[in-house]
């Protein structure tokens, strides 16, 4: 037996230079926390009562630690605040984020370590507990500093190396490090290694995040049957694990079981209905299943919960209105537009969605003149460069056709088809538009012509790349991305072959700049796509090799 003298074995944390933010809707708790923190030596302590204040404060200050109550007054909870802060890049992984909750049982497992708080503090707690937890988190942050730095800079290979080093040097953090490493491997598309890693953790203990991670890598490798079986077991053991339902839905969709996918999302939403993206997904799946009531409820909830959230876009208003129009509730759709007026009018995309919905409503209500005016407005917006989500664009094409403006409709369908040639759902919807106006054959022709060139160029480019003829592949893919400038797959492939060509033949500054632009565009078109992190990392590697300094603009 050995006696351990605490506080001596590890480095002391110096709080005097740190800045903290305390978030709680109860003033008494805020001031009690401030007193506790100032006793640790902190002098810069800010306080917020709600989510809006947090976002404002964090934009203007850099915080070392944020203590955030889970239940906030203005309808948003602490987890939503954390996700928004991370997605907008307002805080980095160096910031310690501690969730304070009154619940002893809570939605603990966030989908990824990146979106999980650093710790949960359960009320009531006292100053000693707070101090210990903070010390522990900040020491861990110090140990992870190199990993976070490389991760933030997109240098994933180096971040991986640092993970391996940390596992050797600080075995105390082995499980935290393995969790982060698993996510790195997934982001880099190295699913087999990630699978082995999660199995290694499960060997130690079948902890929920490791089982979820394993299920995710299985799904990414299209081993959906195994993924489903595993998720089934996970949910049997921990039925409260909401992110397991989200993943289950994706697995069910991959296995062409849209009904079961919807059921899984409904269960997740019943446990935690505040997450905007869960409601959005539920709405999409329910709509595709023809379950209009559920779709409407979910899209409404997404708008309702997501007020002021960055996760809500004009497309969400379009989605709800589309269901309402489908249900014949024209006044409901117009009402949705009215309620969203502020949000919609602030962007060209929002104005376009609004014009499309009006066109749709007036057309269905047989008001040709009004429909025409809405169409004119949509065309004007498009001419000045406004773009909306593909569903809304196809709605617009449908309205054009219903009002006899066939050529305008065809042009829009062509554009959507070029930019989403690999989306079966969108192509099917486009075909329906033509069938509805008795032009099925013409529609097939339009779609075939529109996608043929993109398809050919993309396939050829990929084939050339596989033969390592990157010079020819780049020419081919550049042509494809001119045809389909917003097609996520095409622009990601283009960026990929450019980077491969530079790896092989050396630097070409114009091409490199194009690759950077394409990766940024892919991030806008397909946020969170699994390939993007890997492409960014590749870009950084090339940058490092040729001593180029990344653009500082954010």
């Amino acid at each position: 037996m050995s006696l351990i003298a605490f506080g001596k074995a590890e480095t002391d944390i110096d709080y005097s230079a740190m800045r903290a933010l305390v978030v709680d809707d109860y003033p008494g708790m805020r001031s009690a926390m401030r007193i506790a923190l100032s006793n640790f030596g902190l002098t810069k302590i800010d306080m917020s009562a709600n989510a809006t204040e947090v976002l404002f404060k964090v934009q203007h200050n850099e915080y070392d630690l944020i203590l955030c109550d889970f239940n906030l007054g203005d309808g948003r909870d602490g987890q939503q605040v954390l996700e928004e802060l991370r997605h907008r890049g307002l805080i980095t992984l160096d910031t310690a984020f501690i969730m304070v909750t009154a619940e002893s049982v809570y939605e603990k497992v966030a989908a990824t370590a990146e979106l999980a708080p650093d710790d949960y503090l359960i009320k009531p707690f006292n100053a000693e507990i707070l101090r210990h937890r903070l010390d522990g988190i900040l020491r861990r942050k110090l140990a992870f500093a190199d990993i976070y730095r490389y991760f933030a800079g997109g240098e994933l290979e180096k971040a991986l190396e640092c993970c391996d080093l940390l596992i050797k040097e600080k075995p105390k953090y082995i499980v935290d490090t393995l969790r982060f490493k698993g996510e790195l491997l997934n982001a880099m598309g190295r699913f087999e290694e990630a699978e082995a890693l999660y199995k290694q953790v499960i060997q130690m203990r079948a902890i929920p995040w490791a089982r979820l991670g394993l299920a995710r890598t299985l799904h990414m490798q299209k081993k959906d049957e195994a993924a489903e079986e595993l998720l089934h077991d996970v949910l049997e053991d921990s039925p409260e694990l909401v992110s397991a339902y989200d993943l289950m839905a994706e697995v069910k969709l991959a296995r062409n079981d849209a009904r079961e996918a919807q059921a899984a999302l409904e269960k997740g939403a019943a446990i935690s209905g505040k997450t905007v993206r869960r409601q959005q997904r539920l709405g999409e799946v329910a709509f595709a299943n023809g379950d209009l009531d559920k779709a409407r409820a979910a899209f409404s909830a997404a708008l309702d919960k997501g007020r002021h959230s960055i996760f809500v876009t004009p497309a969400d208003y379009g989605n709800l209105c589309r269901v309402q129009v489908e249900q014949g509730d024209m006044n409901g759709a117009l009402d949705t537009l009215k309620k969203g007026k502020m949000a919609l009018h602030s962007s060209p995309e929002g104005q376009l969605v609004s014009a499309v919905v009006q066109g749709l409503v007036h057309t269905k209500s047989g008001r040709a003149a009004e429909a025409g005016r809405a169409l004119d407005e949509a065309v004007r917006l498009r001419n000045v460069g406004a773009r909306a989500d593909e569903q809304s664009m196809l709605d617009l094409a449908g309205v054009c056709m219903a009002n006899g403006r066939l050529e305008e409709g065809d042009a829009i369908v062509r554009e959507v088809a070029r930019n989403a040639h690999d989306s079966d759902a969108l192509m099917a919807k486009a075909r329906q538009l033509y069938e509805a106006t008795g032009r099925g054959e013409a529609g097939d022709q339009v779609l075939k012509e529109a996608t043929a060139e993109v398809r050919r160029l993309n396939n050829e480019g990929v084939m050339l790349a596989h033969k390592s003829d990157y010079a020819a592949a780049v020419e081919c893919m550049l042509a494809a991305s001119r045809e389909a400038p917003f097609n996520p797959r095409v622009i990601m492939n283009t960026a990929w072959v450019i980077l491969k060509r530079i790896d092989q033949e050396g630097m070409d500054h114009d091409l490199f700049a194009e690759a950077r632009r394409l990766i940024e565009e892919a991030g806008r078109q397909s946020p969170g796509h699994t390939r993007i992190t890997g492409l960014r990392s590749h870009l950084k590697q090339v940058e490092g090799r040729f001593g180029i300094h990344g653009s500082k603009k954010k």
Binding site: S104, H132, G136, R205
Partner: protein, 217 residues
């Protein structure tokens, strides 16, 4: 309209618990003056405040456990960190009336898998019990027992009364109030920690004083 009485009680308890938590963190800001007439009641109040908050927290968790909702969120934690945290918390509560120490056996791994919040709550209850009855010292100990992590709270009191030991031996519900509720809770927490078919365990014995052991596979 039917009034949901149990829901009402639960939210009432929540509110009381949070207010007590606030009271406790506020009391932490009152510094001792060295004058026993000031310090003794202050220390006593802090301890009482914590005990009431803790009782409510356990009651809420027991309520959940009865409804089958007590599923532990297991992750990797350092046993040494957990005991260190509990030691400092206990020492701050008793000031210099008792000496609280930690001992970690050499074979205890750097990390172990458990739900830290539940395990801490179970241990805190045992610690507060010891604070009430110990003469001079409390020892928090981590060791390995047949492949399970054993977290122990040992004191130099007269030990547990025979009827409580009896209850634990025979796996019966505890009748006495206060201590009984806490032990019931600790047993639930232990049992909720199962791994590969092996359940956790609560063991109470009298050795040099009362010994509370939580075994986590």
């Amino acid at each position: 309209m039917m009034l949901d009485i149990s829901g009402l009680y639960a939210s009432l308890m929540h509110e009381v618990k949070n207010t007590l938590g606030l009271m406790s963190i506020t009391l932490d800001g009152v510094h001792p003056t060295g004058d026993p007439e000031h310090d003794a009641p202050l220390n006593e109040t802090r301890l009482l405040c914590q005990r009431v908050a803790e009782r409510l927290q356990q009651a809420l968790l027991l309520y959940k456990a009865v409804n089958g909702q007590l599923s532990p969120m297991v992750d990797a934690y350092s046993p040494a960190d957990v005991l260190g945290e509990l030691r400092d918390e206990a020492q701050a509560l008793v000031r210099d009336r008792l000496k609280v120490t930690v001992r970690i056996a050499d074979d205890v791994p750097l990390i172990w898998f458990f739900d830290r919040n539940l395990v801490e709550m179970a241990l805190v209850n045992a610690i507060h019990n010891s604070i009430q009855y110990a003469r001079d010292r409390i020892l928090l100990e981590a060791s390995l027992d047949d492949g399970a992590l054993c977290l122990a709270v040992k004191d130099d009191s007269d030990g547990y009364p025979e009827h409580i030991l009896e209850c634990v031996r025979n796996d019966q519900p505890y009748r006495s109030q206060g201590t009984g509720l806490g032990l019931q809770f600790a047993r639930l927490v232990a049992q909720a920690h199962a791994d590969r078919g092996r359940e956790g365990e609560l063991r109470l014995t009298n050795e040099d004083g009362a010994v509370f052991r939580l075994l986590l596979p």
